[in-house]
């Protein structure tokens, strides 16, 4: 009836209407009903109750008549109770309650108008059907009836479930739970998991209900709380304290509560998780707990939780903390024998759990619906595996691997075709047999039922130089031997065999290689004849035949010997068998040429013969050419000879020197060059090659070639010497380097030269990088000497001569040479200071001459008068009176002091050693160049001096003038020492007397380059003094004594006639007095002349 919303509205409207009318029509009777209260539990019936005066309640009955306005109905009932059950109506209800006494007389009547709004809707109090604990999971299972059948239609119900614990009934939680009432009774269930083990303390539950009927106009209220249902905690016997939870397995990071249950007489001392104490929570008497947050993974035997009790009791439990299993990774399955399938996987992260808590793996297959439990030791194995049987007629397998432990489970799946996952067992019993030089038979065993597949086997055949794989396909069989043949093997070769197999159609994996087998193939005859050459002995009729050993690949076995034979047109002249290791033999030709053949023999047979003719054709005009070094070989080329029909042979001595170890190489007829390579070639060694042409009737030497594999710098330096040295040049000569020391073709020499002293550190010229370094490159090898020009005089030079090849410069040989002195430079260097000294001397002389009076009086008075001594009384103007004096006046010359002296033949010569000094030679021109100095200095007799230059070109008229005493500068006639030495025994007597005047030409400047012929010319040309000029020199007191005195002496002269040029004063006078001899600066000379003035 409430299904229609419009109908449902009707009671509400009726209640609203009655609201204004609600009032009690009291009659004033003390037992009249009052305070009518109405409640509905099922929205069907309303239970109304009222109050009445208690004084007269005994024996009273109530007649209740209720009238519904809509639909209009009326019903009366009588009851002794003060409550009545009336139907719920849509509108308001008029309730008339009449109180009747025992006799049925109405005592009072009360009328209530009951609107719907005043009716409360309070659902029936729910009843808990059951509360059951699950101690292992700390879970409470709650069941109750929703009493939905009470209501005629669907309703939303809300439930409140209150969890309480401990004896003190502390609320743990209050949970809301919604359900739908479906007009029939339904058992509702709800689970709650505690964070504390249920054993620890009592847990209680109560529920209540609220039904949300939106169209009900009255008040809707929560039902009463259901009666409490309690799950008590575990009780313990005295002395048997326990800790909960027991042997629990939890994931890492869990928050745990542990409780210790003990007897009430006991007292808890501490409670620890592992080694750490936690604050103890007292649940009730004899019950304590600790809370541990975020537990770490435990070790294998778990973490101990324990409580220590007084008196001296210990109780504990173990907590196992770990991880749920990972999903099995890289699951792969394959079969080796078609008997079992082996699946492998990686377990992932370790669970840290062991014993019966460790991960269990179950391999299940969907098609066969078979499961296999895998026994795996998680701690010992990194990769897990599990075997599953192969079922006949099943090819496709769908595997699921489930990993589970107390904390969870995970699984991986794999779908395979068994024929595509074949990984065969390692081939076993592998044997190889060889009974020929090229074939081998192989056999091996593979276990397993392989009838449904074909096998592909790979045979590895290897020797020291090569490795080859041979694939063989064959039908599979059950636990069978398999065979194969390896062919195309090389004779007499050690081979290593091994084999591996796989399924041929669907390749998955190769098996492991079998064990290796080593065997050697048999020998067979050599593949070809050896390379041969022959050389005729220069003396005698013998021929030496050479052959090269065959390569191992050509020998096909072990060469035992070589058979050498000599045949002349099918007729064997001689034969010999040469055992190894000899590689040559000598054949006596006995005057006739033949064809030599060589055959190599091993145990397998003989090689084809190699043949060569013994005939050497005569050759002329054989040229020698140079080869080109390539660094690792020698490039040679030869001129093509059209008559060569059977190739060229190049022969050389591979040792490079004696004894010759013959080596050769042959080339085809069209070849004209080759690069020869040999391990025997060494760099820097000269090899001689002979090129032979093979012609139809013999071999002919065509060409000789010398060459190097690699040219090196010469090993030694060229020996060289200095042949000649002058002031500006050096002549150097050197010798050839021996060929064996050249180590390459000599390309030239390099001469380095630079200034350098011997004994100083002498780094290489090239390293020094001296800017003065000069280099001369001599490429003309025929040249053996070199003149180095433009050098400085009297300078030490370092010379360094090296030979070079393409390979580079050889070592150096160095020399130090000092050039001769440069005379011009020396002269200039001396002349300037001498000139300065002379000028100074002249000035001093002039000064002294002018003051001679004063000097005389001062130092040498005629009558020494100390009082008059000017030296003690020096006057100021002592020299002023003589200022007019000229330098030289001939007038004062005292005639009586002049004597004409005949030249004496026995003039004692003064062997002035100083005259021999070469230095003196160079001073002579100085005197001549300074005639004035000479005239000033001469003070004794002071004849006029004829200067050298004047003498060299005297005026003709002078000779005709009256005789006049002149002074000739002795030094102008001074001859070089050489002449002095050359003519030591001049006869002065014969040369004395008159001689025609000649020009005396002594050119001192030509001294350096004078020659004897030039001297002769000087002597014969022009005037000559009328005396032996040599005598003058010798006799002259003015002969220079020393370099210093030379200038002064040069001014002394002997008076002589101009015409005769004879000395008027014999030099003896001077000689008598040694003091006069060198008086250029002597005061005595001054004062001796003084009276003449």
């Amino acid at each position: 009836m409430w299904d229609n919303p419009s109908l449902r509205c009707l009671p509400a409207i009726a209640f609203l209407y009655l609201l204004s009318l609600i009032c009690s029509q009291e009659t004033g009777f003390p037992g009249a009903p009052q305070n009518l209260k109405c409640v509905t539990h099922d929205l069907n019936r309303t239970i109304c109750s009222w109050d009445a005066a208690s004084s007269a309640s005994h024996g009273l009955t109530y007649k209740i008549c209720y009238v519904n306005r809509e639909p209009s109905s009326s019903e009366c009932i009588e009851t002794e109770e003060k409550r009545v059950d009336v139907p719920v109506t849509t509108g308001s209800t008029n309730i008339v309650i009449t109180t009747l006494n025992a006799s049925g007389t109405p005592l009072a009547s009360e009328t209530f108008v009951l609107p719907m709004e005043n009716v409360s809707f309070i659902p029936f109090t729910p009843q808990i059907l059951s509360l059951s604990p699950d101690f292992s999971t700390y879970t409470l299972h709650l069941k109750w009836n929703d009493t939905g059948s009470v209501f005629q239609y669907d309703l939303d119900a809300h439930w409140q479930i209150q969890i309480l614990h401990k004896e003190t009934m502390e609320t743990v939680t209050l949970v809301n739970y919604d359900s739908k009432l479906t007009s029939k009774d339904t058992i509702l269930s709800w689970n709650w998991t505690s964070d504390m083990p249920l054993e620890c303390t009592s847990h209680s539950v109560k529920i209540r209900c609220y039904i949300n009927e939106s169209f009900f106009a009255g008040r809707k209220e929560w039902s009463e709380w259901s009666p409490i249902k309690t799950v008590p905690g575990k009780d313990v016997d005295p002395g048997n304290a326990v800790v909960f939870p027991e042997d629990k397995v939890v994931p890492v990071g869990s928050n745990m509560t542990f409780c210790c249950l003990y007897n009430e007489e006991e007292c808890i001392r501490c409670m620890k998780y592992g080694s750490r104490s936690y604050p103890v929570l007292h649940l009730s008497k004899g019950r304590s707990a600790i809370k541990v947050q975020n537990v770490n993974a435990s070790n294998s035997s778990g973490a101990n939780v324990w409580c220590s009790l007084l008196p001296d009791i210990i109780a504990g439990t173990v907590l196992f903390v770990g991880y749920a299993p990972d999903k099995p990774q890289n699951l792969s399955c394959e079969t080796r024998t078609f008997i079992i399938i082996t699946c492998r996987w990686n377990p992932g992260r370790p669970t840290r759990l062991s014993g019966h808590r460790e991960t269990q793996y179950i391999l299940s297959e969907r098609t066969s619906r078979k499961n296999v439990t895998c026994s795996i030791n998680e701690l010992n194995e990194k990769e897990h595996h599990c075997d599953f049987p192969v079922y006949t007629d099943q090819q496709i397998y769908s595997f699921t691997l489930t990993a589970s432990n107390p904390l969870g489970q995970a699984e991986s799946s794999l779908f395979i075709d068994i024929n595509q996952r074949v990984n065969l067992e390692t081939p076993d019993k592998f044997t190889v047999s060889i009974n020929s030089s090229t074939n081998a038979h192989l056999s091996w065993y593979i276990p397993g039922n392989l009838t449904q597949i074909r096998l592909l086997c790979q045979i590895e055949i290897s020797n020291s130089s090569s490795e080859q794989l041979q694939n063989v396909s064959m039908a599979g069989a059950e636990n069978s031997n398999y065979r194969a043949t390896a062919d195309a093997l090389r004779p007499y070769t050690m081979y290593t065999f091994r084999v591996r197999c796989s399924a041929s159609e669907h390749f998955w994996k190769w098996s492991e290689w079998s064990k290796e087998q080593k065997l050697m193939t048999l020998e067979t005859s050599p593949a070809r004849g050896p390379d041969i050459w022959r050389e005729r002995n220069p003396v005698g009729e013998t021929l030496r035949v050479f052959w090269k050993p065959l390569l191992r690949s050509e020998a096909n076995g072990e060469i035992v010997s070589h058979e050498v034979s000599c045949c002349l047109q099918e007729t064997m002249l001689q034969a010999q068998d040469v055992p190894v290791p000899l590689n040559s033999t000598e054949i006596n030709l006995g005057g006739s040429d033949c064809v030599i053949s060589v055959v190599a023999k091993n145990r397998g047979g003989s090689s084809p013969p190699s043949r060569i003719s013994s005939v050497d054709l005569p050759s002329d005009n054989v040229k020698t050419e140079l080869a080109i070094a390539t660094g690792d070989g020698i490039y040679i080329s030869w001129h093509s000879d059209p008559s060569v029909t059977c190739g060229y042979t190049v022969k050389w001595c591979s040792s490079g020197s004696e004894p010759c170890s013959v080596d050769w190489e042959t080339f085809p007829s069209n070849a004209t060059d080759a690069v020869l390579k040999s391990a025997m070639f060494q760099p820097g060694v000269r090899y001689n090659f002979s090129v032979y042409g093979c012609k139809h009737n013999g071999y002919q030497l065509l060409q000789n070639i010398v060459g190097y594999m690699k040219e090196l710098p010469p090993r030694v330096a060229p020996r060289f010497t200095v042949e000649e040295t002058s002031s500006d040049s050096i002549l150097v000569k050197w010798e050839d380097i021996p060929v064996e020391d050249c180590r390459g073709f000599l390309r030239g020499y390099v001469l380095y030269f630079a200034k350098g002293e011997k004994g100083t550190s002498k780094p290489s010229f090239m390293e020094e990088g001296s800017p003065e370094l000069l280099v001369k490159n001599i490429t003309d090898l025929t040249k053996k000497s070199l003149r180095i020009l433009d050098l400085q005089g009297k300078t030490s030079y370092r010379l360094d001569l090296r030979a070079y090849t393409v390979g580079g410069l050889g070592p150096s040989n160095d020399l130090y040479v000092v050039t001769k002195e440069n005379s011009m430079g020396l002269i200039i260097a001396i002349l300037i200071p001498v000139a300065v000294a002379v000028v100074l001397g002249v000035v001093t002389s002039i000064l002294c001459y002018r003051k001679r009076e004063w000097i005389k009086e001062t130092f040498y008075p005629d009558i020494p008068n100390p009082e008059n001594s000017k030296a003690l009384q020096f006057q100021k103007n002592i020299c002023e009176g003589n200022t007019a004096l000229k330098t030289l006046e001939m007038n004062p010359c005292t005639p009586n002091s002049v004597e004409v002296v005949e030249t004496q033949s026995t003039v004692p010569k003064i062997e002035d050693t100083e005259m021999k000094s070469p230095v003196v030679e160079y001073e002579i021109p100085e005197d001549g160049s300074d005639p004035e100095t000479g005239s000033h200095v001469v003070v004794s007799y002071c004849p006029p001096i004829i200067e050298e230059e004047e003498i060299s070109s005297p005026p003709v008229d002078e000779s005709g003038e009256s005789s006049q005493v002149i002074y000739i500068d002795i030094q102008s006639m001074y001859q070089p020492q050489v002449n002095l030495e050359e003519e030591p025994d001049v006869n002065f007597l014969t040369s004395a007397g008159y001689k025609p005047q000649m020009q005396l030409s002594v050119n001192a400047m030509k001294m350096e380059s004078h020659s004897p012929t030039e001297d002769d010319l000087d002597e014969t040309a022009g005037y000559r003094p009328q005396a032996n000029t040599n005598a003058w020199k010798l006799d002259s007191p003015d002969s220079p004594i020393s370099i210093e005195s030379n200038n002064e002496n040069g001014s002394f002269g002997s008076p002589c006639s101009i015409n005769s040029r004879q000395f008027l004063i014999p030099p003896k006078d001077y000689e008598d007095s040694p003091s006069h001899n060198n008086t250029g600066w002597s005061f005595t000379n001054f004062f001796q002349n003084k009276p003449n003035d």
Binding site: S300, S301, I314, S354
Partner: protein, 200 residues
């Protein structure tokens, strides 16, 4: 408990001739050496055992209250009282203990297989302890036979109630190992005295 007193004269008379005397001395000396080994190994075993059980077992000051091990007589008699017992009585006590210890040690090993499957050293030592205990039991029987001491009745095959929880397993294993050590000490003491009485 049945008490049997055997005086020395009886013992000597039972070992009447010198060859059997020599045999006894050899047996005593062998057993003495075995007890030296057992004493050393039992101490090592206890240390190894606690090392794997975690706190509080591995704590050096862990001294739980004594716990009765079902079937195993406790060596809780004081050393003085022990020495006060006669040789025959000591031997009987030892024989009773070593008739039970191998089984108890084996069950400890079984528990440790579950708790510490990777502690191979512990497992080896437990196995060795079982063997040594069996060996000692045999030796003791021989000596007792030589001395004429009656053997104790074989231990009643008590229902081996394995501990229900891991903690109890650890604890009971600890007690077995500790008592094994204590009995080893006792047997050593006894055999030292016996070897003094029956020198080679």
């Amino acid at each position: 408990m049945e008490v049997l007193t055997v005086d020395r004269a009886n013992l000597l008379s039972s070992a009447s001739n010198s060859s059997s005397q020599q045999e006894l001395a050899t047996k005593v000396e062998q057993t003495h050496r075995l007890t030296i080994l057992l004493k050393h190994c039992s101490e090592q075993l206890l240390a190894e055992y606690v090392r794997h059980q975690g706190e509080p077992f591995s704590s050096p000051d862990f001294q739980p209250p004594p716990m009765a091990v079902p079937g195993l007589p406790s060596p809780s008699v004081s050393p003085e009282a022990w020495l006060a017992l006669g040789d025959g009585e000591q031997l009987r006590h030892l024989a009773m203990a070593y008739a039970t210890l191998p089984r108890l040690l084996a069950s400890v090993q079984q528990q440790q297989n579950e708790l510490n499957p990777s502690a191979s050293e512990l497992h080896q030592q437990l196995e060795a302890a079982v063997r040594q205990c069996r060996g000692l039991a045999g030796n003791l029987e021989g000596i007792m036979g030589a001395l004429g001491v009656s053997s104790p009745p074989p231990p009643s095959p008590s229902p081996s109630s394995l501990p229900t929880s891991a903690f109890l397993a650890k604890l009971s294993g600890y007690h077995v190992c500790r008592q094994h050590r204590d009995w080893a000490r006792r047997s050593h003491d006894t055999l030292v005295l016996l070897s003094a009485k029956y020198p080679l």
